[in-house]
């Protein structure tokens, strides 16, 4: 089964070594050997990490260049930020309705002012478009 793209990106970034590699690639492209240098792991292990990052679309490698430097695909990050921002906005919408409700509730624990339409009717007037 093919994992969805967001899962691939987030699980690729769940590993601290891969996050570190991404952070270094954000500064400049690098070869596999350059990427392997600071770690106490083999070039093969670094290649395996790069494959996970590549499968998630986070990095690419030039076919032409002799040393095939690894390049970070910044667009994928932008897309992920967009997704999370949408999720955030939805939570914010929910909570601004809660703001309005809290405003209409008395402090002494009595009943809240009735909604425009009685529950379980659709959302109060104005919430539906």
């Amino acid at each position: 089964m093919r994992a969805d793209p967001l899962s691939l990106v987030l699980s690729a970034l769940a590993d601290p070594t891969r996050r570190d590699m991404v952070a270094r690639l954000a500064v400049a492209d690098a070869t596999v050997n350059e990427l392997a240098e600071p770690y106490d792991v083999s070039v093969q292990a670094v290649s395996r990490h790069l494959k996970v990052l590549g499968d998630a679309g986070l990095v690419s490698r030039s076919r032409q260049a002799q040393h095939r430097p690894v390049h970070l695909e910044a667009e994928v990050f932008d897309l992920m930020t967009t997704w999370i921002e949408r999720y955030r906005r939805q939570a914010e919408e929910r909570y601004s309705r809660l703001d309005d409700l809290l405003e209409s509730m008395p402090d002494d624990g009595g009943p809240a002012a009735p909604p425009t339409t009685r529950t379980p009717q659709p959302q109060p007037t104005g919430a539906q478009t």
């Binding site: 969805d4 987030l10 624990g109």
Partner: protein, 160 residues
Amino acid sequence: MTATSTGQTLITIDPDVPLVRITREFDAPPAKVFRAHTDPELVARWLGPRRHEMRIDHYDCHTGGSYRYIHASGGNEFAFHGSFHEVRPGELIVQTFTYDGMPDGVALEKVMFEALGGGRTRLTTTSLVDSFQDRDSFVASGMEEGVRESYERLDELLAG
């Protein structure tokens, strides 16, 4: 790893644990915010997504209680249910959350009400699921129509 804070609501997506955390402050004391989380009539007025009708089947918010509610939109119905594991007035709600369409999937949710002084409350909600994939589809599921478009864009990007 990722937190956005352009508005009042802060979302944190943990890279090491399949967890989403939402933080938001309210201009009301904890007891009041808590009541809006436990009284079913009040819950129905804010919890559902916009443009969906929210119908509460039952909502017994006390330790050992359970809930079930339905979101209806354009002839489609999505039902959710769970158990209240620990409910402490004005402080804490720990509950499970399951989408009826995926009965084996379960999120553990913790809602914390923290007094900030001046009659304000910081509300922190964490949702923990048992795999990163579930967590990520959970984040993605909140995005409604926008998500398909985004996926198409990402597919194009990945194919390129």
